[in-house]
Structure formats: C-alpha cells, structure tokens
C-alpha cells in the first residue's frame, strides 16, 4: 500500500529522518510510535509528497510517487496541526475540500462526514468557535472527503479531552473495518497498543523495529515481573511465565531469603508493554 525505502531528510544540522524504510499493508492500521522530534511528521510529509526526501523513494499503491496527482488522489492526510479555515463553518470547510477533489454529490458526502465525526449539530458554526476535540474531528473528516484508500493521521489525538480521544480511536477502527488503510502516528503507547495492527517504533529518524504489539513485546519486552507480598514485605520476581510463577508462589510456605514470611497476602503482575519495548530499544522512556 505504502512503501518507503531508505528515506533520508535533513533540516540544516538536524537529521529528521535517517534511512527509514517501511511497508504498510493494505487494510491495516499501522502505528508510528515515537517521542516528539522522532521524525514522525517528517516521515508523513515525505510519504504524502508534501516534502521531498534528500534520498530514498516513496511508492503509493504500487502506482509510484505521490507527486503525481493521480496517485495522491488516493491518500488523505489529517496533519498534526489543525489545518482548517477557522472563519468558515464546519460544513463550508468540508464542502470546499470536497469541491477541490471534485467529489461527486459533495453535499451528501459532507453530510455523511459531519455525521461520522458527530459534528452535524454544529455544522453551521464557525470552526473558530469549536473546542479542541471538535477541531480535531473535523480535521480528520477533511482528510476523508474524497474517500481515499490510504488515510494518514498525524497525532490525531493531540490536545483533546479523553472523551474526544475515545471517539477518534473508535473512528480509526471503523475506518479500518471499512477497508481503509490507516497510518497513525502518536507518542501515546496506549493508543498504539489499542488500535494498531502493527506498530513501528521510531526514534531519531530511524525505524527501530516493526511488528504487532505482541511480537514487539516478545522480542524486546523481556520478562514479566511478579510482585508477591507476604507480611508486608514485597518480593519482585522476573519470569517469562508470570501466571505459572504466581501459582507456584501460592504453594510456598514463605518467600525464602528475599521474601517475607507466611502466606501470600498480595500479588501484582507487570507484563512488558510498548513502553518497556521502547525503553529496551532506546534506553530512554517514551514519556520523557
């Protein structure tokens, strides 16, 4: 669906994208997970043809570079910034983009999208009067007017309330269920874990690894931690099979040299997640 091959892009001294290659498969939700400044937006800009790479190539749908209007007809982008006309209404914004793409029956399409992002009640209000979450949803809707096959969402939940965030996440899953391919960038590992079929971990412009969340965790997450409490004393045990370890602990009379005495009074299992994966891959925390 989308193939990036050995993309490089520098801005002066900073290397934003440093030899990045990836392949997004048709119909999947592909997450690009990385901290701020990792090069996610630059990668998206190159993938859409908005920015030329210093080297490397982009192929969309096997049709070639998105600099060809016929190719980029098939992609829709919701940029990281809200890119809407603040002094136009929600409807006017969508109608404008629909007209730009020559969408047939634009009126019906706009109605449909307004309903999809639950903004039909505010259709005639100017975007400048919207909340952050509403702007985000409209920003996303604007990427969909021409019904593209590939949708790129650059941090579509940045700066929104939890309720709007959940709506957006649901929307993304819904797009996937309708057969669209979605590229989703975020620095929230929970989001990536929740909605992405596959995740690419990016840092310093490099793709460190790609896979399903389970694959990544299996590869880089290491062991789970089981914390057992006896008589107020906690003991942390690393294991590949935490459930078995917990069961074993219940059979023991006491925790041995490092643990407390008496029966188990509490158990906590910590499974590795994308955060652990990121830490393992970069030696830094995603949340920094």
């Amino acid at each position: 669906m989308l193939a990036l091959r050995d993309i490089r892009r520098r801005f002066g001294q900073t290397t934003a994208v440093d030899g990045l290659s990836l392949e997004v498969r048709a119909g999947e939700v592909f997450g690009l997970l990385g901290p701020n400044g990792a090069g996610k937006s630059t990668t998206i800009a190159i993938a859409t043809g908005l920015l030329a790479p210093d080297s490397g190539s982009v192929d969309l749908l096997g049709m070639g570079s998105p600099s060809d209007p016929k190719v980029r007809m098939h992609l829709g982008l919701a940029p990281q910034e809200i890119t809407l006309y603040a002094e136009l209404t929600a409807r006017e914004n969508l109608r404008f983009f629909a007209d730009l793409y020559g969408v047939a029956d634009a009126r019906a399409r706009v109605d449909e999208l307004l309903a999809l992002v639950e903004l039909d009640a505010r259709a005639h209000d100017r975007v400048s009067t919207f909340s952050g979450g509403m702007k985000r949803r409209l920003n996303l809707a604007a990427a969909l007017v021409h019904d593209p096959r590939l949708v790129l969402l650059d941090e579509p939940t940045a700066g929104v309330d939890p309720q709007s965030r959940n709506r957006i996440l649901e929307l993304v899953r819904r797009l996937a269920s309708e057969g669209k391919t979605v590229v989703y960038t975020t620095h929230y590992m929970e989001e990536a874990a929740k909605i992405c079929d596959r995740v690419g971990i990016v840092d310093h412009g490099r793709l460190l690894d790609v896979g399903t969340v389970a694959e990544l965790v299996a590869r880089h997450g290491g062991q789970s931690a089981v914390t057992v409490e006896r008589d107020g004393v906690e003991q942390r045990i690393l294991t590949a099979d935490p459930v078995a370890e917990v069961a074993r602990q219940f059979t023991l009379v006491d925790g041995g040299a490092d643990g407390g005495t008496g029966p188990v009074t509490g158990v906590r299992i910590e499974r590795p997640d994308l955060e652990t994966v990121f830490l393992a891959l970069t030696g830094r925390s995603l949340r920094e």
Binding site: G49, P79, E92, A142
Partner: protein, 432 residues
C-alpha cells in the same frame, strides 16, 4: 474549473468574514472618497481668485483696456496666451478655470454697438465651473462698460463708430424713414455728448456703467463650454471617487497578497497541495476572488457616487471595461506578491508598504494634477496611476476611446504578468 470556483468562493467568504479586510477593502475607500471630496470641494469652491487665461486677439483700445482691467481685478489671476488653443489647453489641463478671448470682432462689435449687436467676447469655461462662469460673465460686463468712457474720449475711434452706426441705420431695411431720422438724430446727440465729456478721465464709478447698461446693448459674453473632456473634474468628488477606488483596490491587494502566506502558515496550503490541483488552479482561484472583490469595491464606490453625490457616468460601458481592467491588474499583482512572500510579516510589511507608496505616487491621496512634475513622471510606474487614468476617462473625462486604450492595455498587461509570475513562483514548492 470547479476547483478554481471553489477557491474563489472560499477566499471571498474569508474576505467578508475578516473585519479588517472588509474595512480596508470596502469601508475605507468610500470614506476616503467622501471625506477628501468635502476637503477638496471646500477649498476650491468659494474663496480665492479665479485663474483666467486671456487671449487678446485684437489690439484695439477696448481690447487692451479690458485685458488690463481683468489683470488688475482682484478676483482674477490672469495669464496671457497667444492663441485660443493654448488658452483652451490651459483650461483643459486645469491650469485655468476659464479662458477669455477678446476677439478681432470686438472692434466690429464696437461699430455695431448702437445697432444693438453688442460686443462679443468669447469665454471658454470648464463646465464644472458654471458658478465661476457666471461670475466671470458679470465681471466682463462690468469691465467692458468701464471701457466706454475711454472709448468716448478717443474721438477718432468714436467717429468711426458713429459713422458706422449712421451707415447701418441708413441702410437698415426694417426701419421706417421716421425711425431712421430719429436714429440719426440720436447718434448726433450722442456724438456731441461724447465730445463734451471727452476730456474727462476714466469714469469708473460702478453705478454709471450699470445704469448705462440698459441703454447700450449688453456685452454678449458668448460662453463656450469646453467639451466635457475637461482636464479638471466637474466636482472634487470626481477626483476623490476614483481615488477611493484606488484605495479599495489597494485593500483587495493587501488582503489577497497576504492570503497565500496565511494559507502557508496555517497549514491549509498543505491540504491545497495535496488536492489534485495545480498552482495555476490555486492562483487563478485566488486571482478571481481578488478580481471580484475589486469589482465589488468599484461598484460600491460608484453606487455611492451616483446615489449620494449625483455623479453622472459619461461612458457606462467603457467604465465597466475600465473597472474590470483595474481589478484584473491588481488581482495579478496580488498573486505575484503572494507567491513570493514567505511569511505573513513579509506580506504585511513589504506588501502593504509597497502598495501604500504606489498608491501615494499613483494619485491615491494627492490628485495627479496637484503633483510636482517629477512625481507626475514617477507616477507612470504606479499601477494606481493607470487605474485612475482608465477609470476617469469613461467616468467623467469622457475621453475618446483612442485615449482610453493605453491605460487599459497597461492594466491588462500588468494583470497577466502578475498572474503568470505568481503561478510560476508558486510552482516550485508546489511541484516538489
């Protein structure tokens, strides 16, 4: 086509929703036109002296006396011209309010004085200055009457007049013998009267000529209105309304020169670039919006001029053409600047700054004919000058079509050039 129309519609909407843009594009021009109209109108209407171009074609005592008295009169500032044409040109160029021609026939007129023909003085007056024309006419009458005592004192000249009068009476067909006799008697009486006052100095009491005026045939000041292509407007508003339009076009220009930069900084340009359109579509959509806005300003200013200031448009069809050309030129210019400016600060600073200077030297605040010559020459470099020239022609100058062609061609040329330069400059980031 649909994309271009969508862009144009969107940009017009945005223009109308920006209070600052609406003010500078639509309100400010009308304010300028009306305000400056009153300012200039108040200045030139009542007080001050009237500039007169005087052409003395006759060398007679009457002509010389009239010319001298005109020069001495505190109401006038006179300038002598050799020919009628030169004087008329001065009126056209606005250097004189009226031209007074003291023709050769003035002497013949004197000979016909007593046969009721009167003295014919020609005056060429700017039709916008009818009030001044009335004043000039009255003054000429007054001054002409003042000449008579001088004439009466000049026996040879008078004798010629009397004998001419006698001849004309004798030869007159419509007169009965009794009337002829009476007439001849009157002339003899007048002759003896004039020789009795012959030694007196110039009689210049205002009352005497005025009462005599009933007796002598009135001085016929034949006022010729200079064809409406006067170089000077009928009213100050004729100047200030085109100026208002200039400011309106400047407002459009400012709004649209900044609009591309705004799209860039707000990121909406990325969406436009992703859409299957070219830089030409984008520039054209914006240019059309700018063009429409420019036409709307002009329609508004002219509507105000017609409804509230009684403006009459000499050539409505040509005015529409001129308005279109002017708006087109500024749309093109706006696009060229828009494509080159990279930041909003640039567009606002360089764009509006440049336009301000161009508007000023192009006659935006000070009408061209008030400008010193070097500024007038400089103004050829300003598109505003061409816009004013194109609009004034069909608006009130009523210039022949042949004279309207140049400004129109210049404006349309500017428009095309800007359009193409803009699209080309935008092409680079667009083409990736």
């Amino acid at each position: 086509m649909r994309a271009i129309a969508a862009i144009a519609r969107k940009d017009l909407r945005l223009l109308f929703r920006d209070k600052g843009d609406v003010f500078f594009t639509f309100v400010f021009p009308v304010v300028i036109a009306v305000l400056f109209g009153f300012v200039f109108g108040g200045g030139s209407g009542g007080g001050g002296t009237i500039d007169l171009a005087v052409v003395r074609e006759s060398d007679s005592t009457l002509a010389r006396g009239l010319a001298d008295d005109l020069a001495k009169d505190p109401s006038f500032t006179t300038t002598s011209f050799e020919t009628r044409e030169a004087a008329a040109d001065a009126v056209r160029a606005g250097k004189a309010t009226a031209a007074v021609i003291l023709p050769k026939s003035l002497d013949a007129g004197l000979e016909g004085l007593f046969s009721g023909q009167g003295i014919a003085i020609d005056a060429v007056v700017d039709p916008s200055r009818r009030a001044e024309a009335g004043l000039i006419q009255g003054k000429l009458n007054e001054l002409a009457f003042r000449q008579f005592p001088k004439l009466f004192s000049n026996s040879t000249e008078m004798k010629r007049a009397y004998s001419a009068a006698r001849d004309s009476i004798a030869n007159a067909r419509g007169l009965s013998p009794t009337q002829k006799l009476l007439g001849a008697g009157m002339i003899t009486a007048a002759e003896s009267f004039s020789s009795s006052i012959g030694g007196e100095p110039t009689a210049d009491t205002g009352a005497a000529p005025a009462s005599d005026g009933a007796f002598f045939a009135p001085i016929a000041v034949k006022v010729e209105e200079l064809a409406p292509r006067a170089g000077r407007p009928r009213a100050a508003f004729d100047v200030t309304f085109p100026q208002g339009i200039v400011w309106g076009l400047a407002g459009c220009f400012g709004a649209f020169a900044a609009s591309l930069v705004t799209e860039r900084s707000r990121g909406t340009l990325d969406r436009l670039r992703l859409a299957p359109i070219t830089a030409f579509h984008l520039i054209s959509g914006k240019a059309i919006a700018c063009l429409v806005a420019g036409l709307l300003v002009q329609a508004l200013v002219f509507t105000v001029a017609i409804l509230f200031f009684g403006a009459r448009i000499a050539q409505p069809a040509m005015l529409v053409v001129a308005a279109f050309a002017a708006a087109f030129a500024f749309a093109g210019l706006a696009m060229a600047l828009a494509a080159f400016c990279r930041t909003e600060a640039e567009a606002n600073g360089a764009g509006r700054g440049a336009i301000l200077i161009l508007a000023l030297i192009g006659g935006g605040t000070i009408p061209l004919f008030f400008m010193p010559p070097f500024l007038r020459t400089l103004s050829y470099g300003s598109p505003f000058r061409w816009a004013v020239a194109a609009i004034e022609g069909p608006f009130w100058r009523d210039t022949p079509l042949s004279e309207q062609v140049v400004p129109l061609v210049v404006l349309i040329g500017i428009g095309f050039l800007g359009w193409i330069v803009g699209a080309r400059a935008l092409w680079r980031p667009f083409a990736r």
